[in-house]
Structure formats: structure tokens, C-alpha cells
């Protein structure tokens, strides 16, 4: 009897918790869709500018999200362009060459790097730009390439982890086959290990892209601004979707601007969920490590 009651209570609690989490997240997503959906039309992106001219960059876009979208894409490309080769190299080293104490120390270092709050990385980037501005060139300040670099630092540990665990997950039999046939380690790495863990690595890269695209604290400090137009130079300020959402939440001046803010939130949410689903479809079971901290 007592057992049954206990079981019943635990079950209620478990189901209640699941329901609470589901409805909480459901409320967030539902609210964004409910308020953002009316804003979804072509003018959300291009304002009053003819779309084709805007895409080709012939006419600047005002009252539209296009420059912010392009800014986000640009900053994500820069970040990934920096972080993926780095992460790949460091991950391979960690999985294939590092042993014993070195490996332990490096793992700890990357765990710490993964734990650094994004605002601290932003602060690092901001003060770095001040130093460069003073000692290297007055043309340098918070800008697109700086944001890209800092976002790259932000996702670097995730990438290293993804690559490392992908390589370490290769079955021993597969790992030894080529070696036993006389291939040396680099050949084995290049022709066997990397191709067979490509899916896992791609998943990691896609999740890193999502993380770069949604982070706000880093770009808030390193060069995102309210109005900049299409990005044209690496050394200039830029617009970005997450920054726009943050900006609108506190500074909207008209109901149209607020609607555009909800549209931007919906756009970013769709982008994030979309990237996640792509990652999921590549690899059914996405490693828990990928969600590690923020």
C-alpha cells in the first residue's frame, strides 16, 4: 500500500515536471510564433527596397532585416573559418597524439575554456581591440573580424571535443585494419579515421554554427551596432540578428519596429531549430558533450 502510494506520488511528480518543462518551452516558442508570424512577409527582410536590388547590394535596405541577416552570416563564417581548422587540429592531436599527463592537462584547459562566460570573451575582445587601436593602427576598433574571432574562441572547445570524441569513438578493429596492412599513422588518420568520423565532426560543426549565430553577449561588446547597412569591410561595425532582437526589446519606437523584432526572433529561432534538426538528421544520437555549458 505504502509502496503504491509512493510510486503514485513519484509518477505524478515526474509527469508534472515533464509537463512543466514542455509547457514552459512551448510558451516561449508559441509566443514568438504567435507574435512573429504576422511579420513574416518579404518586407520583413527588405523593407521598402526592391528585394532584388537589396540582395545584389545596389540599394541600401532600411526598415528591413536583410543587413542583419547578412551580418550574422558573415560573422558566423568568419568564426567558423577560424575555429574549425583550429578545433580540427587540436581535436586530432588530443585524440591521436596526446597521452598521459599532457592529455589530462589539455582536457582540463579546454573544459575551462568551454566554461568561460561569453560576456568575458566579449570583454577580452573589446579590450584587445583597444590595445590594437592604441599600439598597432587607429583603424582598428570593435569590428566584424574581431567579433568573428571572439565567437571562434567561444565555440573552439566544443569543436575540439566533438572532433576528439568522434575519433576516439572509431572502433578498434577499424582503427587497426589499415595499420596492420602497413599504412603509417598519418595515412590511417587521413584515409580511415577522419572519413569514418566525418558525420560526428559535421554534427559538431553545425552545432557550433548554431551557437555562433545565436550568441549575443560577444557581439554586443565587439562591434554589433543598430545601423550599419550591409557589411562591406572586415574592419567595420555590422548588424546582426541577435543584437537586433536585444536592441528592439528595449528601444523599439513604434509598433512596426516591435513587430519586426518579433519577426527577427522568429527568424533566429527557426534558424537555430533548423540547424539543430539538420545536425540531428546527420547523426541520430547527438553527443551530450555538445550541449556542455554555455
Amino acid at each position: 500500500m505504502k509502496t503504491a502510494a509512493r510510486f503514485f506520488l513519484l509518477k505524478i511528480w515526474a509527469a508534472g515536471s515533464a509537463l512543466a518543462v514542455l509547457s514552459g518551452a512551448g510558451a516561449v516558442v508559441g509566443f514568438v510564433i504567435w507574435r512573429g508570424a504576422p511579420a513574416v512577409r518579404l518586407s520583413l527582410l527588405f523593407g521598402s527596397t526592391p528585394p532584388w536590388d537589396a540582395v545584389l547590394g545596389r540599394v541600401p535596405v532600411f526598415d528591413g532585416l536583410w543587413p542583419a541577416v547578412v551580418g550574422t552570416v558573415a560573422v558566423v563564417l568568419l568564426a567558423v573559418g577560424f575555429a574549425v581548422p583550429m578545433g580540427l587540429a587540436a581535436g586530432i592531436y588530443l585524440a591521436e597524439f596526446a597521452r598521459g599527463r599532457t592529455k589530462k592537462m589539455l582536457s582540463v584547459a579546454f573544459d575551462i575554456l568551454a566554461g568561460i562566460p561569453s560576456i568575458v570573451i566579449g570583454l577580452f575582445g573589446f579590450s584587445l581591440s583597444l590595445a590594437l587601436h592604441r599600439f598597432v593602427s587607429v583603424r582598428i576598433g570593435p569590428c566584424l573580424v574581431l567579433s568573428g574571432f571572439c565567437l571562434g574562441i567561444l565555440v573552439l572547445p566544443y569543436l575540439i571535443r566533438a572532433v576528439q570524441s568522434a575519433l576516439e569513438g572509431v572502433p578498434l578493429s577499424l582503427r587497426l585494419t589499415a595499420l596492420s596492412l602497413g599504412a603509417h599513422r598519418i595515412q590511417n588518420l587521413w584515409h580511415v579515421l577522419l572519413p569514418s568520423s566525418l558525420n560526428a565532426i559535421a554534427t559538431g560543426v553545425i552545432l557550433a554554427i548554431g551557437r555562433c549565430a545565436e550568441d549575443t553577449a560577444v557581439i554586443l561588446l565587439t562591434g554589433a551596432v543598430a545601423l550599419a547597412g550591409m557589411p562591406r569591410s572586415l574592419l567595420e561595425n555590422f548588424e546582426a540578428l541577435p543584437f537586433y532582437i536585444y536592441y528592439v526589446s528595449s528601444q523599439y519606437t513604434s509598433s512596426e519596429e516591435l513587430e519586426r523584432g518579433f519577426g527577427a526572433a522568429l527568424l533566429l529561432l527557426t534558424l537555430s531549430l533548423g540547424l539543430y534538426l539538420v545536425a540531428l538528421s546527420i547523426r541520430r544520437r547527438v553527443g551530450r558533450r555538445a550541449f556542455y555549458g554555455r
Binding site: V21, G115, F126
Partner: protein
């Protein structure tokens, strides 16, 4: 024979290149901390080393203490944890033990997908949904307060925690659970006396990492907590976290002590999160050693 040489030469080259990358990444980790320390130096030379940590924020009176911000950050992240831990534990229990297979699978996928909701979207919804609701409900304050930020933050850290909890619960050896069944234990007993104790280390890891994430979050507290630089004394009061403080004061004069104070915030944030990462790491490595 020649092949062997080829192999060792290319291996050496690869080792060099890959090693350079790994060292750069590791150095970056340390460099960020050193950078924060160096730039907070002006405050240290003013003999304010420890006063900064225990004083109040009153820049007009020449006091640059970050005690209110430390208090707010701690209050906010522990409050969010207090709310999120029971919910996450229940959710994980539902997925692993109590739920029927189909709903359990759905909840698992749903929570996994939740991890991809952008933080700024949580904050945005908080501003237009949670803040007005809290204001109407408590009738004391503008609605921008610890409570609003806490509610949203709890929701944001929940998926990470749930996934860690599920992992921990699922890695409890099947034999233990079977042995408990053989002794006549029902699902409730198995959960309470076998799964929870055995999964303890994994559960704590999840809580630690969720705490680190809550402590380091900027957008939610910046958008929802009200940003008053006073030591938080009530859930319904406006408060400013360390992270929000950095975002708000970044604009100050670069030579001023105000500006230096944000690097002290940076040092504190870095140190706390590094400690969390270290604790989680040592827990995890002990876990791996003990595993059969």
C-alpha cells in the same frame, strides 16, 4: 624501410602542426584570465584589492565595489537552480523510468531540441510575457526583478540539466536495478534507493555545469532583472548581475576606475566558472575510474 621513414617524417610534421594548434588554444585559455587580471590592475594599485569585492557601487562617491553584483549573480543562479533541479530531476525520471516509452521518447527529443532555443529569444519573450505578468501578479515593482529573470533562467538551464541527468541515470549498471527487482523492489524503490544514489556523481556534474551556465548568462539578467546596482534583498527587487554590469559599464572612460571594475567582474566570473569546470572534471574522472 623507406616507407617507415616517410611515415615517421610525416608524423613528425603532423605532430608539430597539430601541436601548435593545441598549444595556441590552451594558451588562449590562460591569456584571457591574465588579460582580465592585468586590466583590473588600476584598482589593485589604488589599494582597493579586497575592498572592491566587499564595497558597494557608488561611482560618484568614488566607491567601485562589486559586492551587489556578486550577490545578485549568486542569488539569481542559485534561485534558478532551486527551481530547475526538481523539475529537471522529475523530467529525467519521467524519461528514464516513469514515463511510457512513447511519451518518454517524445520528451527526450523535445528537451534535446530545446537546447537550440537562442538565449536572446528567451530574454525577448521574458520582456514581453514574463515581466508584465510578474508586475501584475506581485503589484510591487516594475516587474523587472530577480523573480522574472530567475523564472526564465530556470527554463533556459533546464534542458542541459535534464540531458545530464538522463545520462547519469541511464549509466547506472543494469545488474543493480535487476538485483533490486529480484529483492522485490517496485519502480519507486528502485528509483529512490538504487538509481538516485548510484547516479549521484553524474547528477552533481549536471547541477554544477548548469550553475556555471546560469552564473555566466548575460542576456536574460540584462533584459529582465532591472539592473539596479544594489545588494538584492528581495525577489521582487531590481538587481544587477556581474555579467550585466560588464555590459552596462563597458561604455565608461577607458582610464577610469569604473572601467577597471568590470575586469574585476571578469576575473570573478572566470574564476567561478573555472572552479565549476574543475570540480565537474574531477567528479567525472573519478566516475570513470570507478566504473567497472
Amino acid at each position: 624501410m623507406k616507407r617507415q621513414d616517410d611515415g615517421s617524417r610525416s608524423e613528425r610534421a603532423a605532430r608539430m602542426i597539430l601541436g601548435a594548434a593545441v598549444i595556441t588554444a590552451a594558451v588562449l585559455t590562460g591569456a584571457i584570465f591574465v588579460y582580465m587580471l592585468v586590466l583590473s590592475f588600476p584598482l589593485f594599485t589604488h589599494g582597493q584589492v579586497f575592498r572592491v569585492l566587499i564595497q558597494d557601487w557608488a561611482p560618484l562617491q568614488g566607491r567601485y565595489g562589486i559586492r551587489p553584483m556578486i550577490g545578485a549573480s549568486l542569488a539569481l543562479s542559485s534561485g534558478a537552480l532551486a527551481l530547475a533541479i526538481p523539475a529537471s530531476l522529475g523530467c529525467a525520471a519521467f524519461v528514464t523510468i516513469f514515463g511510457r516509452p512513447k511519451p518518454a521518447f517524445f520528451v527526450r527529443r523535445f528537451v534535446q531540441t530545446m537546447t537550440s532555443i537562442p538565449t536572446v529569444v528567451y530574454g525577448f519573450v521574458g520582456v514581453f510575457l514574463v515581466v508584465p505578468t510578474v508586475r501584475d501578479l506581485v503589484q510591487a515593482g516594475s516587474g523587472r526583478c530577480l523573480l522574472s529573470a530567475l523564472l526564465v533562467l530556470a527554463l533556459m538551464i533546464t534542458p542541459t540539466m535534464v540531458l545530464f541527468f538522463i545520462d547519469a541515470m541511464e549509466s547506472v549498471p543494469k545488474e543493480y536495478v535487476l538485483a533490486a527487482s529480484a529483492l522485490g523492489a517496485g519502480p519507486a524503490e528502485k528509483f529512490l534507493w538504487v538509481v538516485l544514489p548510484c547516479a549521484r556523481a553524474g547528477l552533481i556534474t549536471g547541477v554544477l555545469l548548469a550553475f556555471g551556465r546560469a552564473f555566466g548568462d548575460t542576456l536574460i539578467s540584462l533584459m529582465l532583472a532591472g539592473n539596479a546596482a544594489v545588494f538584492p534583498s528581495s525577489l521582487f527587487h531590481s538587481a544587477r548581475t556581474l555579467t550585466a554590469h560588464i555590459a552596462l559599464v563597458i561604455a565608461a572612460d577607458f582610464q577610469s576606475l569604473e572601467f577597471a571594475s568590470i575586469f574585476v567582474c571578469g576575473v570573478v566570473l572566470y574564476a567561478v566558472n573555472a572552479a565549476v569546470a574543475l570540480a565537474a572534471w574531477s567528479l567525472r574522472s573519478r566516475l570513470l575510474e570507478n566504473r567497472p
